[in-house]
Symmetry: C2
Subunit: 427 residues, 2 copies
């Protein structure tokens, strides 16, 4: 018999500590996953509208088979020659702009971002980096400095500047159009100037190209071009954290394709191995070689034959099942459904996103746009109790976050929209 | 047909960059592993005397089965409840001193060390750390600061002090006994004083408890007690990096058992998942809880149901096959064989280690003890050409490093010793 949640939590707190994060007021005890579905210990089924890691669907047979086949054959580090890492690197790099020509493989998105900062430093001589004021880029000491939503131990260093994320819903000074993108981009230029004033050499700017943690804003027209223009003019590099946006999530292969501004360095993580710990940094060969000439980097597990086989299988499924197109098509369908909901529910202030990644901005009043975090919390828990898993984001915690596996269908979308409608009525 | 090494390297350099590290003058193209054996694309067999990651032997069926079974069932992050992580945590913590009561799971040893530093900082308020002058603790920006054998990008920060590793072969000032351990421990006290003089609050000392990268010294009697005594007197914490020493490698479960000084924080990695990327930080619950109350730490892949199942299977194999005892017994046998070689080969200055982890210190002259890195390089490549994989370590690169899977047998040992004898004759 499965333990009760109370027994579970007591044991979990004893072994892992009470500070270990959990979802939902009543946590979910999952035991099985298949496609877009998750099952708990009592046999209850949940539609997964949250998990981007199992991007091809939970426990995809092709991915599991690739994992098992290679794990039974060989798993070593990459100081021996092996074809898997090369086959994968070749296939992966084909998906990028030609300027992004080499890859370093690691295990987690945090490791990828940590490394990307040092690649930028090695090439620019700069240690000063810009991020936004409502983001998160991972959990190492170096990237925790870029996490504006969780203050790091010891506070922020002098080498970090945070700029406002480009919000067009609660727009800066109520501006719009060119004036709005200028205003946000001016903050980037001001941050660069302030590094200069402080005598801190500038390294670059790291952002998620779709500003996922910030709440998936409709990016003011021209913002990325202007902001990255300032970065490049000052000799800095643009690091695109594609840990959430990458691998088809937005209905395009990469989040940076939304704006068309090609990054100097791209970091990859979460969906890359559909749950298997693999991550990567993709950049121009010159940038990676310059870094490698200055610092020894070796990652024991990164790019091993098993990780590479799994990641290759994930790419194959995305291609074979046309999941990038599916994200675009079903994403549009969901978006239209949410628009219908907005017509009926006053609390929906704004709906944003691309592909199969949605943010629903909840407000107490559409005119004042005052964030409604309590409603968001109630809805997330209400949806969980109605068999749908999702979460919330944003600096105010008022934005519903939906990010289902890429194999999400229109039928799944109907269930989601119908249930959200039902739960919103009760809030 | 397998590609030639030249074709392989051209492709590898194009995709990963020429700075990507490789072993041996003529790299090995491995395609299969089983137990202590590795096989290349031409069917040539190699006795693995290097790899500690597949600690239970390459592709152990019990580990592969646990991996495949769980990967086909469910793989999610730990914000849902799952029993695997708790079963594993409970089993793992039983192996430690009672004071080490909680665990945080991550993916790599680098992540574990990076986190351990912040746990120490959260509890001591200190940001100043001591490491040795010939070590390596991983590849994040924070732990690269502790890597005295590879200088990090931008150089070392003010918050790091390096002390001499406790060498009893080329002993400091030719001291011995109590005087020697006092002299090395005095460096720790001096480093603490220098933090104090610089106004940098002291956080602690991180060392591999068997000083593996330094060259596996016979630790001068009482050194750890004295050094850690100074650390504790100054309010710092002792972080034991067990990434290489842990999980039975030394013929005991943990490297710290050699000295008997129980660490405040232990970090785990490499062999933990026998190649699957899992790592951990084990510490007193109070230390972990204090950290968690001050910083949000969440690791997407850390401790997921698949990683936990794999790590549990590794623990089970170590226990069921009595691999800790095997490391002790076969280790002693190998050690005696190396002593016989030392009687015949003048180049062997010193033989050190414990369990199945050996360092053979090569010298040009036994009286001057001048390191012989060229001989070490020639022997490592000569052994590779004779079907045995090993490497070298130490600040001079003159110490042969042998660290076979824990299932290494006396028959394997005979092959190793006989081949090493044969290769040494030709150098």
């Amino acid at each position: 018999m499965a333990p009760t949640n109370r027994e579970f939590l007591e044991r979990r707190n004893r072994l892992l500590g009470p500070g270990n994060p959990l979802f939902y007021d009543e946590p979910v005890h999952l035991v099985r996953g298949e496609g877009v579905w998750l099952y708990d210990a009592d046999g209850q089924r949940y539609l997964d509208c949250y998990n981007n890691v199992p991007c091809v669907g939970h426990c995809h047979p092709h991915v599991v088979e690739a994992l098992c086949e290679q794990a039974a054959k060989l798993n070593t580090h990459t100081r021996y020659l092996h074809e898997n890492i090369l086959d994968y690197a070749e296939h992966l790099l084909e998906k990028f702009d030609d300027s992004l020509s080499r890859v370093v493989l690691a295990c987690t998105g945090s490791e990828a971002n940590d490394l990307a900062l040092r690649i930028a430093t090695a090439n620019t001589g700069g240690s000063g980096f810009i991020c936004t004021n409502a983001t998160y880029h991972g959990n190492t000491a170096a990237v925790a400095q870029l996490s504006s939503i969780f203050e790091p131990i010891g506070g922020y260093g002098e080498h970090i500047r945070m700029v406002s994320w480009p919000d067009s819903y609660r727009a800066l000074h109520d501006l719009s159009g060119e004036q709005l993108s200028d205003a946000y981009a001016d903050q980037v230029r001001a941050a660069i100037d302030s590094f200069s004033d402080a005598g801190i050499p500038f390294g670059g700017m790291i952002v998620c190209p779709i500003f996922a943690n910030e709440g998936l804003p409709d990016i003011p027209e021209g913002y990325m071009q202007k902001a990255i223009g300032h970065v490049h003019n000052a000799g800095g590099l643009y690091i695109a954290d594609e840990v959430q946006a990458g691998f088809g999530r937005t209905g395009k292969w990469w989040g940076y394709e939304q704006s068309g501004v090609v990054p100097d360095i791209v970091t990859l993580g979460k969906p890359m191995g559909a749950g298997h710990p693999i991550s990567g940094v993709v950049a121009n060969g010159k940038l990676i070689d310059e870094y490698r000439s200055r610092e020894m980097y070796f990652n024991t597990f990164g790019g091993n034959p098993v990780s590479s086989a799994v990641a290759m299988a994930v790419l194959e499924v995305i291609e074979n099942e046309e999941l990038v197109d599916n994200a675009a098509t079903v994403g549009d369908y969901v978006f239209r459904g949410f628009r219908d909901l907005q017509a009926r529910h006053e609390m929906i202030g704004d709906i944003r996103g691309a592909g199969l990644f949605f943010g629903i901005d909840l407000v107490t009043d559409r005119d004042t746009k005052e964030p409604a975090p309590d409603k968001a919390k109630t809805i997330v828990n209400g949806m969980r109790n109605n068999g749908i898993l999702m979460s919330k984001i944003g600096e105010h915690g008022n934005i519903l976050k939906l990010r289902p596996p890429l194999c999400f269908s229109k039928e799944n979308a109907d269930v989601l929209i119908e249930t959200l409608d039902k739960v919103m009525v009760t809030v």
